[in-house]
Symmetry: C2
Amino acid sequence: MLDISQAYRLLNHGPTVLVTTAHRNQRNIMAAAWNMPLDFDPPKIAIVIDKKTYTRELIEASGSFAINVPCRAQAEMVVRVGASSGRELLGKEADNKFAVFDLPTFAASKIAAPLVTGCVAWLECKLIAEPHIQDTYDLFLAEVVAAHADERVFSDGRWHFEGPNGESYDELRTIHHVAGGNFMAIGEAFKA
Amino acid sequence: MLDISQAYRLLNHGPTVLVTTAHRNQRNIMAAAWNMPLDFDPPKIAIVIDKKTYTRELIEASGSFAINVPCRAQAEMVVRVGASSGRELLGKEADNKFAVFDLPTFAASKIAAPLVTGCVAWLECKLIAEPHIQDTYDLFLAEVVAAHADERVFSDGRWHFEGPNGESYDELRTIHHVAGGNFMAIGEAFKA
């Protein structure tokens, strides 16, 4: 588990993320480009969750959700997840997107939402209820209660997609959506 | 000027930005990594502006500000701008950061804030007053009333840092702050 005061660094560079949720026997996953850190310590984040999403229903019911930071190897999955609705699967044999898209997950430490295997960072979030901005702007605020990262590409508070011994982790680079399935991978690190 | 319905695409991939402000004969500039689109059309954005900043005083007085998207060639300037306060310059001979850092600007079309020359995109914003979240979370919402981009790297609704004839616009790539002057440039474009 990551030092919680570094959680903002997982989102500071603006990656597109996956939001996972769980409530009772239901769970869901959606894609979300519109997210940002909101505070350092205790860490908070802000994220836009549209009214029509099933994810929103599960967030409002459970009071929690996870932000998963996917990588280039998962980009096609992110598009597929973003183009489908979990609500339409209810009652079917494969009644959730994890089953339909064959997404392995592991347990979070402090919330019920599953964390997606193969992502490069994860933030466990508890909703800060602000009904006015939720209703008016689809804007949700949350406190980050635990954070994790793939140590191959994030450690000592920094992303490092070029490994220390010349390894290249291009398939683990974070992805940044523009529109319509057009992404950019995060690129070269530099100190200014 | 850009089709306003595409304004969100200038921020969708998560760049670190510069916020410029003007009120009466005062103007200022600050760096801000914590920004995101909030809606498509009319386009809205969300951004975190700390209580102690002079920028915040000018936004609350003028009701408007500009978001400038800087590029790799400007990274050192972004760090310098982010590390200094415009309030401390008041009363000095060079009484604003534009003068101190020798930053050329040009006029916005619908607001008083200056736009920074050499950036690759600009969003002119009018504050949507939400005092509770401004006071509690330093969170500001705004409507984008005009948007512009450097056509060498953004046109037809897409960023293209690799030019059509093999040009490379690496110095114009957007920059994504992690912490402490450590940035990543946006990297390779791909379709998923």
